[in-house]
Structure formats: C-alpha cells, structure tokens
C-alpha cells in the first residue's frame, strides 16, 4: 500500500469519530473555559477581562456566598456518598461473592435495578413517597413503631440535602456494588482456600486477604463517585427545581451553574459567569482525577493472577 493510500485509509476510519468528538465535546469544553475570561457586553460583543469573572465569583458577596454554599453542599453530597453508598456497595458485593450462594443472579439483578431508571423518575417517586399528603413513609415507619421520626424532610432546610443525598445513594449503590463484586470474583479461590487452611474464617479472609487486593477498585469507585457527584444536577432539579430550595439548602454546583447561565426568577442569565462556574467545576473535577491518577493509583500495587 502506498503511503498516501495508507493515510487516506486512516483518515476514513478515524475522521468521523474524531470530528464529532472534537466538535461537540472538546471544542465546547475549551470554548467554555475561553468564555470565562470574557465579559459579554450589552451590544453582543465580548470584552477580555482576564480573571475578573473568577475574582467576582470568589470574592463579591453576591456571587461568592452562593458559590461557597453550592461548593460546601456538593462536598457534603460527595461525603455522604463516600460514607454511605460505597460501604453499602462493598458489603453487598462481599455477600454476593460468597461461594455457594443461592439466588446470586437474582439479588444482583434486582439490587441493580434502581440504577437503570431515570433520575427524574426516581426523584419524583421518592417525593411522592415522602410526601406527608400520601403518608406512605409515615405509615411504613409507624409499622416499626418509629412514626414519631417522620417529618417533612424534603421541605426543611436542615434535612433537604441529606434526604436527597440518601435518595441518590439508594439509586446508585448498584455501581460500586457491581464494580467491587467483579474485582472480588477475579481473586482466585486458591488464595482464599489457603487463608482458610491457615485458620481464618470467611470474615477474616475478607478483611485480611480480599480487601487489600481490591484497593485499586475502591480507588476507582471513589474517583467515579467524585466525578459523578460534582457533575450532578438531574436529581436536585427534578425534586427541587432550579432554586434547589428551601433557601438554597440543596444547591450544588450543577444547579448553581444552570441557574446562573439560564437565569431564573431572581436574576437574568449570564453567559460569562456561567462559563466561569463551569470552569471551576472543570478544575474541581480535574483536581480529583489528578489526585487519583498521580497519588492514589501510583501508590497501589496491582496484582495479576
């Protein structure tokens, strides 16, 4: 094959993917970052303003208060996922991977089911269930003698974010479960047999043999949780609208970005500031991914069997 023909061949195979991906993914990403250094004037032209959008965002109280509020809430949202979703996922995966377990596939399929459904549908369903109007949640708690605990969780500033986070945990627990389950299945039986011969029971074998071996997967699960959480929007928008109320108590980066960019009852849409917030989200996510790639992943030993 001549060199020209070879290059032509490469171009034909690669061009469609590279063009679509560059146009609709990389270019918008770069253009958004670029936009964040400009200020859109009333006559439609843009003025280069350097980092001033960012200084406004981080220091002008009308911008910085909502920004830090959203950032703090987003960190909490992430922490709740790390402390509740991933441990539950780990326990479920550990139980599912036990040898000679009946109904394994059935449990796995059913527990993964909520993960498949649209966040909008899940959010609304839970809103109905938790609604004092329907009273199903209260009825359910009363059955266990816990009826007094029930409150308008979604409507109160102190509990709205926690409630929404737990609903998100409930929906997405399937992802850490499946990823960890796979990693556990990849561990050869001989290792566990050797451990049991040495006198360890199933629980000890899990803690001392399996857990260290799946650390790379736990790292991956953490970074995936991080990226997804700092990119979240749908659930809070579906349950609380763009204002993420009451009093912005459930506002996270995604909803703040949407509100600033599109405008809402309280303010007009602002392209430049919207881009600045998106760029901040990009930097946050990038930091998380970098920490994972260069700090966590580097230090981990990978075992191949």
């Amino acid at each position: 094959m001549s060199r020209t023909a070879y290059l032509l061949l490469l171009a034909v195979f690669l061009a469609p993917a590279v063009i679509i991906y560059s146009t609709f993914s990389i270019y918008p990403l770069l253009a958004t970052i670029f936009n964040s250094f400009y200020d859109r004037q009333d006559d439609g032209t843009s003025l280069f303003v350097g980092l001033s959008n960012f200084t406004t965002l981080l220091s002008d109280p009308t911008w910085s208060a909502p920004f830090w509020n959203a950032f703090r809430n987003n960190c909490l949202f992430f922490l709740i996922h790390m402390c509740v979703q991933n441990p539950i996922g780990l326990v479920l995966a550990a139980l599912l991977s036990l040898p000679r377990l009946n109904l394994r596939a059935t449990y796995r399929t059913l527990i993964f089911m909520p993960t498949m459904l649209s966040v909008v549908v899940i959010g609304f369903s839970w809103q109905l269930i938790l609604s004092p109007l329907w009273g199903v949640a209260k009825m359910f708690l009363s059955f266990f003698g816990l009826g007094f605990l029930f409150g308008p969780w979604l409507g109160e500033e102190s509990t709205a974010l926690l409630t929404i986070s737990l609903i998100s945990v409930w929906q997405f627990v399937g992802i850490p479960m499946i990823l960890i389950y796979t990693a556990l299945l990849a561990i050869p039986d001989e290792l566990i047999d050797a451990a049991t011969v040495d006198g360890l029971n199933q629980f000890q074998a899990f803690i001392w043999v399996k857990l260290p071996l799946i650390l790379p997967t736990l790292g991956l699960v953490s970074v995936l949780t991080f990226v997804n959480n700092f990119n979240a929007f749908d659930l809070i928008y579906a349950m609380k609208g763009a204002l993420a109320g009451p009093n912005f108590s459930a506002d996270i980066m995604g909803t703040l970005f949407y509100r600033v960019f599109f405008g809402n009852q309280l303010q007009l849409g602002d392209t430049s500031m919207g881009s600045a917030i998106a760029t901040m989200m990009f930097l946050i996510i990038l930091t998380g991914v970098m920490i994972y790639l260069f700090v966590i992943q580097r230090r981990m030993h990978r075992y191949s069997f």
Binding site: A17, L98, Y107, I111, L117, S118, L185, D234, I285, V289
Partner: protein, 275 residues
C-alpha cells in the same frame, strides 16, 4: 457456605436490601393502576378488580404528546447507538490495528471524555447548536450524545479488537480482501458481544438524560420521554392518578428492557471494570 445459620443471615441481609431497592418502584407502579381513594386509603394493596382504575393512563396518553415523546427518545437513542457503534468501532480498529506516529497521543486525546463530563461545555454547546440552526432538533441531541459516548466505547471496543487473533486478519489480507472488507466482514462480526455491551452502556444514560433535552430541545414536541414526563409532572402535580401513571410509563419500558438485557449488561460491567 457451611453453616446454615450464617447462610440465613446472608440471605436475610440481601433479601432485605432487595426489598428496599424494589419497594419504591413497586409502590409507584402498583398504585398507578388504582382509583384515587384506594391510592390514599390502602397504598400498600396491589391493584385488584375492586380498586382498579386506569384513569391516570387515560390522562397521560390523552392529554399529552407522550406517544410522540417515546418516539423522540427512540429516535435519539437508536441514532446515538448506531453512530457510536459504527464510528467508535472504526476508530478503535484504526487505533489498534494500524501503527502511525500520533497513535498513542490520539488514543489519549479520545479518552479525555471518559473522565471529563461533556456537560461542562454546555454553554458553548448551546451556542454551537444555535449557530448551526439545530436548536429543537433531535439531530443535535444525537450528535452531542455520540460525542459523549464515543470515548468509553472506543476504549472498550479497542480492548476487544486487540484480542482478535492476528491470523484471521492476515488470512483476509492474503485472500486479497481490502481493509474495509476485513473491517466490515471479519472484525465487526467478531466483536458483536462487545458491541452489545457498548450499546447497553450508551443507551441508559441517553434514554434517562434530562440535561441536554432541557437545554437543546425543550419545546415544539421535540421533548424526549424523560423531559416530557418531567414537564407533565410539573403540570399535573396535584393529580395523583396522572402523576403515578406518568412515572410508570417512564419506568415500565426500561424495566422490560432491563430484564431482557440484564445478563448482557452485567457481563459488560464485569469485563470492563477490572481494567
């Protein structure tokens, strides 16, 4: 497990969690078939002849364009799957089979999208789509979703293409087949299982997405089912029959597909995960 007591404990935990995972879904679907009084008075009772009432469904399919929203979602999802699979497989093949100078760099460039969500570029995506006069079109959604799905699918398909024995392609070349024939008649059929996995992976986030339909095609009957249901819920917030029916119409098709494809999906997740 040797000891029956611990086996019972394990089944108790898994069983309880399964109930917790299914309860909200079952509750919504069950009550969507019931009369209003029964929804409020006996929410935990399954639909029975005496409390059965499909009024909610009559409203959903009568008052709104739900059927055409389904069609929109179907068009967008199938279009995205088709483009992602074809272009993704072509790129994966070129990257794994041919050696050229920018190979590694290009592979790296294409994998940025695995970690960085395309949503962050939304401001510019809207400008781009409106410059192209494609606001409120399904094609805009297909293009954006294809761009979003390509990185992961190229990554997964490359892994599979690399496993195809070299002899097979060389045999094709000896028989005088062109590179295109080798790709379409030898490689594509061999990676069919991987393509099924990628199709499922692509389908779920696209079908369920709210963000891009909200930004790019929010009106004019171009809504996808997820956005359509969301808007319908906003209007009928106090009509519980209609709300429950609308939620169920969004849940049921996904559940049916899930039951059919769950094996494929789990297998896909379990093979791509350890990498």
């Amino acid at each position: 497990m040797r000891k029956p007591a611990s086996a019972i404990a394990v089944h108790a935990i898994l069983g309880l969690y399964t109930v917790l995972a299914l309860f909200p879904i079952v509750l919504v679907v069950m009550n969507s078939f019931k009369a209003k009084r029964a929804i409020f008075n006996t929410p935990l009772q399954p639909p029975m002849p005496w409390n059965f009432d499909p009024i909610g469904y009559a409203k959903v399919f009568g008052d709104s364009a739900i059927t055409s929203y389904y069609l929109n979602s179907l068009v967008v999802t199938t279009g995205t799957i088709f483009m992602t699979l074809l272009f993704g497989a072509m790129a994966a093949w070129a990257l794994t089979e041919y050696k050229f100078r920018w190979n590694t760099l290009l592979a790296l460039y294409l994998s940025i999208g695995i970690m960085v969500p395309i949503r962050l570029g939304s401001v510019a995506i809207i400008q781009l789509v409106s410059d192209l006069n494609m606001i409120n079109t399904l094609s805009a959604l297909v293009l954006v979703y294809t761009a979003q799905s390509l990185p992961l699918s190229i990554f997964i398909l490359s892994e599979f293409i690399a496993q195809i024995p070299k002899d097979l392609r060389e045999a094709g070349r000896c028989d005088g087949l062109t590179e295109f024939h080798i790709f379409f008649y030898i490689v594509l059929p061999l990676i069919r299982p991987a393509m099924a996995t990628v199709a499922v992976f692509t389908m779920i986030p696209v079908w369920n997405d709210l963000w891009f339909p909200l930004l790019l095609a929010p009106t004019n009957g171009k809504q996808t089912i997820t956005l359509g249901v969301q808007q319908f819920l906003g209007q009928y917030i106090t009509d519980w029959n209609a709300v429950l029916a609308a939620l169920s119409t969004a849940i049921i098709p996904v559940l049916i597909l899930y039951v059919i494809f769950s094996r494929q999906l789990i297998r896909g997740l379990t093979s791509g995960a350890v990498k």
